[in-house]
Structure formats: structure tokens, C-alpha cells
Symmetry: D2
Subunit: 341 residues, 4 copies
């Protein structure tokens, strides 16, 4: 931790801070006296320091945290990519990109089986489908619940794909974990530490989506909470941030693709991209899928329906299996260009 | 709902939309042909319409929702202020502003009793205290849990103040509701519909904080979810939005005080302001409390501790009971200026 | 400047940084070796250091600027409030709040004279009026130009009020300065350093509005540019930032009133608030004016027209002179509550 | 224009609006009476309507603009891609992507000649270089001015590349236009309509960068201003928006690549991407260049220096000519994948 004293801080102010740090946290303090201001460097374990309390001492201008809020998942401490294997599918590392596909919501046994077969044929690796939908409007379709998960699990088995589904409530975590291979934490729940921790304790991989108002640092801090439960099988997913500016917006969110190489630098965890929610517009998914893979994403998560216009939820952002096939084909070719580097 | 057709939309496109609306939703369509573009007005209950699916029909440029996503809590439909009464304290309406005060976290029986007595003497109406703290860092103090709530309830009884505490997890809703008079949904959970609905079903007033990335429309839409459970005893709370711009930020959030008169116009529910979290800086609380009341807030929620520097959590944003008294006194005088209008 | 080395930085990395700093900038370096990371404190004039180049040296994790980017206008260096006096009107310091009022655009000699008389009677101190309007649409009224300024100057003389008008283009700076007492830099031009510097060189007070996407630090950095021209008669003006969140927005901007006490802490310059542009809605101006003064603003800038519905520009955010009088009266009373503190 | 009346609007309110529209703007009004609310459709040229004034009439809830604020540059009206040709280099349309490269600032004749030769060899098409740098700090290198432009023009001739340079001030527009082939409007000046219009009148192509706080709609509205001067040779450039969220930010801006396919849908103008300013970090430029081309960008604008660490400005975001070559090579291959679609 570095403490910057105010220009007018007195010698007494400086001594008070040093005494406070030594007595309360048992740390040693190095003093650098500048022309205008004095800088104090704290030597020792920063986690023991109450950052905000220090900032209140007289004469203190700013106090900087030096160590990262996400050390368990930090690449600085563990340089090698983590590869997460689920029923034979590898996510992360230098493997080929992974494609997660399926409907927004599971509507019936027939629907999910039909989609599972079609996305498998298109080249998808993992099957997704929502059973508990977070919806803004109380009148929208809320999902089939446990029945839907059963259909999803059967479809996954039938077509040889591991499955992923969102768990929206702590109450459902154990139940959802019985059916699916990867537990998804939605963007709205990224700040819900209890849900993340409960999911992480299920000893299955979890997939955490970045909240639309969260910085990358906050995103990784919440991944850290999962890791602190002893589960480092964490897949990160970028799915769009709040747009800026006034007037008509063309998309609900802005897909932050620079987050992909940044996150790859900061952590060893795999980072995938969801262009369906990230744009909300079917006509943008092809372009943004290519861009995500070109930016270095370890995979994509895409909503697919054989008849997007009839889907009970999120129709406007779903594509058909044949569009998925086209995306997977071009993305594999872009990925090969990456790996030739 | 208003549908705007593209400049080049054909007569067939227009007819297709009309047919679609009539057949699927049983609504009547009025056609306004402009010089460049055609506008379709849908007559009937908009809730039956799948807004997004319509936007996908050929020739459609934009589709506007006309009716509000928050009708149950809308002032357009129920013009009169709602006054929520809790153990004799009135929140909302033309009453004097309500002051909610207490520590960020309940640390011990002694601590909460001491603070309760002191904030009561300072003029506070309702006692607050956290038992389950949402914290970014896994190493921070997480709260006393149920034991803390028991202390809070006893302190409230002893000093004649109703109590409020945050419920962070669905699993705890019933338990928390046994102890406190008002259930608080924190800003991080504003998008957590299950938690809001479960809390609303406890038949006690709930206090919902605006998420730092949420528009006012989204905020009111989630209040609507509580109202849809049959519970309209909802207190809204503004506590700051994400700051803009680059470089050093002086506060974690920006308190959006224009939300106060806007929300008073949009809904009959009371709106209070939390200047403690909204600024995160003790030295700004006095100014922003005055500003909030001047803007028309029905009350304030302020974190208080007899020794802010020793508090186990959120010390930098807590004030002393004597500072609280100074705030309550000046706010009452500002409030009187308002009501002389 | 504080330099934080990466956890894995070698002894050679550390020595290279020290050598680099000593040789290139002639500064002394203090080394604080932490458990995980090393911190280097640079002693001497930070302005000579190329911040970004240092960050590129091997082993460097972060480099923090310690000294402020706005020292000329910083309260740390000059603690006393600046009071700017224009033709007898004092802006800033412990004086009563100053009220700047007038139409958005000067439409004719008759219009500005009529408004000038009415706002004077309502209690306004300074007359505003736009002659060059920045407009998004090419078809909107663009202002009367120099003729308008002449009307404004005459009206100011007639009713004993100093005047302020926006200068939008460097080409007009000298001409505008011939007519008005205070040169206004609009929010869209806050990042326009040439315009700010040219205006500052006119030896008249300038009023700079905060850009809607600018942090407070950026805002003060651009005020610093004016001060660097030797002109410290700078009035700062908060007028709203970009709203957050999705869905319908109720106002174009969000008035950031917490900027008021923050800016008062950071600089000795006066800070006023423009609730007209800051909300864009006539019905919010009364509430937000009160809130601004309660937050500690040194004054208000309000758009006024005898017939807002007929104004050639910005009608929806203009109020009548009688509404202005009501605002001035209540604001003076709130201000007195402040000064009793 | 569509006008939505409030739920409680009276028959008299509706008639008043109709009368107002007919008398003031000579437009016809179609009335659609809904169950709760009435919708009015205005038939005729919307540009004659004062949008905001209408919203003030009693009983009016909302008034929607239907026609776009950027018709001159809209693809709805002119469906075909615009191809801008400058000294034999084609920008836009189905051509191969265009690469603009060069130093942030022109430092000397030797420097710009050396870089010009090297970027030409790496495959660049157009030479960039700044002569007037917009800088936040008053102490930074401000550029060589006219002398720099002369060097740039000579270097462009010598190596057969058209040139582009930013014009920061209206006063310099004519002078800069004497030397360079494309006039650049920087992000900070996107809202500076006078500068844009003055530049557009020079009868040379202009390149407008999106402001970091501007929505796509605002961006295109300011391109419209250039087009209204009769100059449709406008190159749009995405270069990053303000980041969201709290805590440490890893980049100054977030490159909004979804803007690329959206802008391609909205306008026929070419859209390029600047990954140098858009990330500010040399190590992200390779990934984001690939992603930009994969997203459909018509070209890239990249800062290059033979010795980035010694550049007088923006060193941390400059790459070497050999890194540029690697980017151009891979981008051409990604582009070929696009065009095989």
C-alpha cells in the first residue's frame, strides 16, 4: 500500500500515520520525502490493512492498494492457462474455441431435442437452455423449471453434449447441479456473492457472466469469490456493458471485446463471449462472433432456435442452426489464423 | 404500441403487419400514412403483444411501447401519495421527512444499543443495522447474522424505533422478516426478482435501493414486481449511480438527486436518499443530505457510529450521532421551506 | 510519482528503473521492498517525468501520478476562496448566491430588453443570452450573432446587470469579448483547449461548463489551462452528465450535485449550477435549484423567457420570470440556513 | 412524428394538439384511440415540427421523432456504399481494407520520412501524423505546427501515400487543407459543429472520430452536418468510449466494435477503427485490429514509430513498423474470409 500525504501535511501527521500502521497492522513503513509531498510505502501483508480507515487520518491525501483484489485467479501468480474439461470437452488454453449453443428457454422436450440435434450437427460442443428465466416483465414466460432441466439433461446425453443452464436463486443451486454440467451465473447476479459461492461449492464448473455495469476489476473480484471456495473451474463470459450517450440506442448493450485480451492477460481462466445477449440483434451476431474469436476469445455462447420468430423468449437475438454452422465454420478459420501467430 | 414502417416498406409489408397483429393479438390497427413513412397505431391491451417479435417483421423500422412497464406503481393510475406506516412512523406523503439511522454493520449488543440510544436522541425515527453484509472482498467482516438481527430488534424495542435491515439471500427472507419491520433489498440485488418477490410476500414494507447501473425506468419496473405480489408498501431509495469520465474519481458513486423529483412524478411511492453509500465520504454527507431534502426526498438513510474510525465496516462513510443531529435539524428547516410553497 | 513493480520483477528490473529515472529526470528514488512487491518513490519535480514511458519499462506494474493535474487552481496550494467581481456583482466566497438568468437565445432587441427587465425585477444579478447556439440539427435557429450581442450589452447596461454569453468558436472570441462581461465556454467545448486558452487571454472572467462525459478531474484540468494563461477569474458550472441504464430516460442529463461540495473542496474557484440544461425539464428546475444551493453552489444559471412556449430555442427548459422569482426567494432562504452553520 | 397522449387526457386536450399541429406546421393528424391512451400520427415533413414544444401541450405524454436525424448520410435513402478515392487509394465499399499509419506526432523531417518509408514497406496505404496535438497537460509536447505539415506532405509525396492530419482549430482549417489530403476531426471536437462545417467546405475528404461519450446516433448526426455542406466524402472512425464500472481501469477507453456493423447498416459511409487510441495499450493493438476487421471495418488507423519508447507523445500506444506488417498481413487474411461469405 502506498500512502500519499497532502502537500501541507505536518511532520506530526506523518508520524501519526506511521505509528497507526505499525501498531494496528504490524507493518513497516518506508518514507520517501518529495519536494512537495511525502510518500509512505507499507511493507507487509496488505490484506490486513483497512484501506479506507487509513485514508481518514489527518494529512493523508490518497491511499493506493498495491496488491490485486484477485490473487487466486491472477495470472501473475499462476501463469499457465487453465483448461477446464467437461465430459471430454476442453475449455480454455490453446485448444480450438468451444461453441455453446441452444435456445434461450427450454420450451418442451421436443423443442430441446430438436435444437440439440441441430446444433450438434452444426458443430456445437455444449448445449445450453434456460429453465428459470430472469425477466423484467412479470407477464413474460418464466421457464419450465425443473422439468426443463430434465429435458435438457436427456437431450445432452442423447447427443453427447455437456450442458449448461443458469441458476438464478440460491434455493435452486443444488437441484440445478443435479441436472447440468456447468452452472451459469447470469449478468444480473454477478454481484450476488452468496449465489456465486453456493454454486462454486457444487464441485462443478461455473460460468460467470460480467454484469453490464461492472468494470473488469470488479468482474475478476467476484470470480475470486468462487475460487476462494476451492473451485477454480470458472469460465468467464463477456456479454455487453451499458451503452453511452444520448438518443436512440441501436443495441441494449455494447459488447466489450477489448475485455477479452485484457482478461487473458489478467487471469489464467478461460474467457468466452456471448454475442446474443451482447448485441440483442440477430443481424449482428455473425460479425461480432468473428470479432470475438479474432480478439482471442476461448469460445462463444450463442442462442439458437429452429424458428427464432416463434421462440417464447428472446426471439430477436436467436439465430437458426444453419446460421450457427456458418459462424462456427468461419470462426474456426479465424482461430487458425490466430494460432499460426 | 406504435409501429413505424421503414421508408421503403411496401404495401404488402404493411398489410402483413396488420394481419399479424389482428390474428395473433386480436388488436385493431390504425394506419397513418406519412410523406416518407407509415405509422401504425395498435388499439387494445399492449401487454398481449410480443414487442420484439413485431420488430422482426419485414418493413418494420421501430416499434414503440406506449404503456408504461410499471402501471401498478404509476402515479398516472393512482394519483395520491402512498403513506406507509410502521409502528407509528409515517413514510411518504406530506409528512415531515423520515430519518433512518444506525451503523453499517451490527457489531455487538452493546454497539447497537449504544448507537440506537444516540440516534434516537439525535432525532432518528427508524433504526438500521446490517447483519449480512455484501462485501467485495472475501476477507472483510461479513456480519453477525441472525444474532445481529436479534440485537437490532431488541434495540428497536428498547428505544421505540421500528427497524430495517438488508436481506441478501432468498434463504434468509423469512428469518429476517421475523426480526425486522422493513426488509431492505440492496442495490446489488435490485435486479434479483426472486429475492424482491419473496421479500414482498412477507407482508411487511420493503425498501428497494436503486442499482448503480439502472435507469429510473428499470428501477420502477422492479418495484412493480414487488407490487405484483400484492404488497404496495414499497419505499424506494436512491443511493448513487456509476460515475462518468476518466481519471481519478472522488466518490465511488454519483448521487442522482434529479431522480427524486422525477420519481415523485412517476409514482406515488415514497422515495428516500442514502447519502452515506451515495457518496462514500463522511465530509459530503451534510451537504448532500440538505440537497436531497431540498430536492423533495421523503427521508434519508444515514450510517452512524459513535466512533466511525473504529467501525468494522464502512467507517469512511459513517458520521457521529452529533453530526446526525445537525443534519436532522437543518433538514427539518429546509423541509419547512418546501412545505410553505 | 510512485512506481509499483510486478510481483515477479527482478533485482535487475528495479535497478534499471532507478537508473532510468536518475539519468533522464535527475530525480532521486526511494525503494520500499514489500513482501510481494516493491514500491519506488520518486523525489523531485514530477512534471519532468514521462509517466507513460516509465510504465513501459520491464517489471513495472503501475505508475501513479502523485501531484495533481490542476495545481494552479488547487485549494491545496491556495486555500482561500476566490471572489470574482464583475461590475459590482461578486461571485464566489461567502457572499450570497449569484443568479444568472435570461433567455436561451437572444431573439430580438425587444425580447432581450423585456426579459432583462423582468429577471432584474425577479432578483437576478447577471443577464445571460445566446447569440451563437450550438445545435444538433442543422435546421434549428442558430442565433442572431453579433447583432444579438449588441442587444444583450445594451440590455445589460439599461438594467444594470453584467452579461454572459457563450463563445463557440475561436474566430469569435475577440468580438464576443467586446460585448460581454463574462465569456462562457459551453459543455461541448470543455475539451477545446484552444478556445479555452483564447478566451482566457481576453482578461475577462470566463465561465466553463463541465462536459457531460467528463470526470471532475478532467473538468478541473481544463480549468487549469485557463489559469495557465494568467487568468484565474474562472467560474465553473455543473450542468449534467450522461444518464446510466437502459430504457426510457426522463432527462437528457443527470445533474451531478455531489460535484458541488467535491469541487469546493478541490479548488478555490466558484462553482455554480445550471438546472435548465442539467434537467432539460421546466418542472424539475425549482426542486433542483433548491438542491443545488443546499449542496453549496455559489449560484445558479437559469434560462428564463416571458413565454417559454414561444421561445425559438430550448422552450421546454425555460421558466417564466415569476417562477424565477420564486426560486430566488427560496434559494436565498436555504442559503441563509447554510451560512448559519 | 407520433404523439402519445396521457391516460387521463381529455377530448379537449386531443383537439388542442391537433389544432396546434395543423395551424403551426400545416400537417395532417391521424388519431388512433387505444383502450387507455390515444396515439396521434403526424403526416408530412417532420422537420418543420418543434418536437419539444409539442411535448409541452396539456395532455401530451411523449412525442416521438420518426424520421432519422441523419437522412443525408442514411443508408435508407442511399443504399449503396460510398467509395472515397484519394490519390488512387480507395476507402469504403467492397475493396480491401485501408491501412492508415504513422506517428502520433511529427517530430522532425527525418522522423516522418523514416516512418513513412517503413510503414509503406509494411503495407500501409495512407500516412498519418499530428502537427497540432490536443493535450490535457499544458506542459506536454504540442506539435510542430505548419512546419510539421510540410514535412508530412513531402514524406507522403516521396513514398506515394496520401496524408491525413488532425485539424484542431477553425483558424487552421484552410492552412492544414493546403498540405494534407484528408482532414481529421478529433474525438474531442466531434461536437464542434463549426469546425466540422469549416473542414467539410474545404472540398477534401474528412475523417471524423466518434466522441467517447457520444451515442452512434449523435455521431451520425454530426456527420450529417458535414454532408449538409455538400461534402459526402466522410470517413467515420470508432476510437473508444468511456469505460463503465468502478475500480482500476485497464484501458482509457473501451473500443466499441459493435458500432462497426451497426454503422455499416445505418449509413453508406466507410467506417474505420483506431485501435491505438481505442485501447491506449500497445499489447492490445494486434488483437483489436484483427477483431475490428473481423467485425467489418473498412480499415484501421494505427500509430507507428520506429522507437515507440522514445516518441515525444503517446509512446505507450505506438507499435513498430514490423508489428504493423504483422497486423496488415493477418488482417488481409481475415478480410478475405469475410469476402468469401
Amino acid at each position: 500500500m502506498a500512502i500519499v500525504m497532502k502537500p501541507g501535511a505536518s511532520e506530526e501527521d506523518i508520524k501519526r500515520v506511521i505509528r497507526f500502521v505499525e501498531e494496528n497492522y504490524g507493518l513497516r513503513v518506508d518514507v520517501s520525502r518529495g519536494e512537495f509531498q511525502t510518500l509512505l510505502g507499507l511493507i507487509g501483508d496488505e490484506d490486513r490493512v483497512d484501506f479506507d480507515r487509513l485514508a481518514l487520518l489527518p494529512g493523508v491525501e490518497k491511499a493506493y492498494r498495491i496488491t490485486s483484489p484477485y490473487r487466486l485467479v491472477s495470472r501473475s501468480f499462476f501463469p499457465e492457462d487453465r483448461v477446464i474439461e467437461v465430459k471430454g470437452v476442453k475449455i480454455g488454453g490453446g485448444n480450438r474455441p468451444v461453441f455453446i449453443a441452444g435456445p434461450c428457454a427450454i420450451e418442451s422436450r421436443e423443442q430441446i431435442f430438436k435444437i440439440a440435434r441441430e446444433v450438434k450437427e452444426a458443430g456445437a460442443d455444449i448445449l445450453r437452455g434456460g429453465a428459470f428465466k430472469p425477466r423484467t416483465s412479470v407477464h413474460s414466460f418464466q421457464g419450465l423449471g425443473e422439468e426443463g432441466l430434465e429435458h435438457l439433461a436427456r437431450a445432452g446425453e442423447e447427443f453427447g453434449m455437456p450442458t449448461v443452464s443458469e441458476v438464478r436463486s440460491e434455493k435452486h443451486v443444488e437441484m440445478v447441479a443435479k441436472y447440468v454440467d456447468i452452472l451459469q451465473i447470469g449478468a444480473r447476479n454477478m454481484y450476488n456473492q452468496d449465489l456465486i459461492e453456493e454454486a462454486a461449492r457444487q464441485k462443478k464448473p461455473i460460468l460467470i457472466k460480467r454484469n453490464f455495469g461492472a468494470s473488469i476489476e470488479e468482474f475478476l473480484s467476484f470470480a475470486e469469490r468462487a475460487a476462494a471456495q476451492g473451485n477454480k473451474d470458472i469460465i468467464l463470459c463477456e456479454r455487453g456493458i451499458i451503452p453511452v450517450g444520448r438518443g436512440r440506442q441501436f443495441t441494449r448493450y455494447i459488447l466489450d471485446l477489448s475485455a477479452v485480451p485484457i482478461i487473458r492477460g489478467e487471469t489464467y481462466l478461460p474467457i468466452i463471449v456471448d454475442p446474443s445477449h451482447g448485441t440483442g440483434r440477430r443481424d449482428l451476431i455473425y460479425s461480432m462472433s468473428k470479432a470475438a474469436i479474432a480478439a482471442g476469445a476461448h469460445g462463444l455462447m450463442i442462442e439458437v432456435h429452429y424458428n427464432p420468430n416463434e421462440a417464447l423468449s428472446d426471439g430477436p437475438q436467436m439465430i437458426t442452426p444453419s446460421e450457427l454452422k456458418r459462424i462456427i465454420d468461419v470462426c474456426k478459420r479465424i482461430y487458425m489464423l490466430n494460432s499460426e501467430d
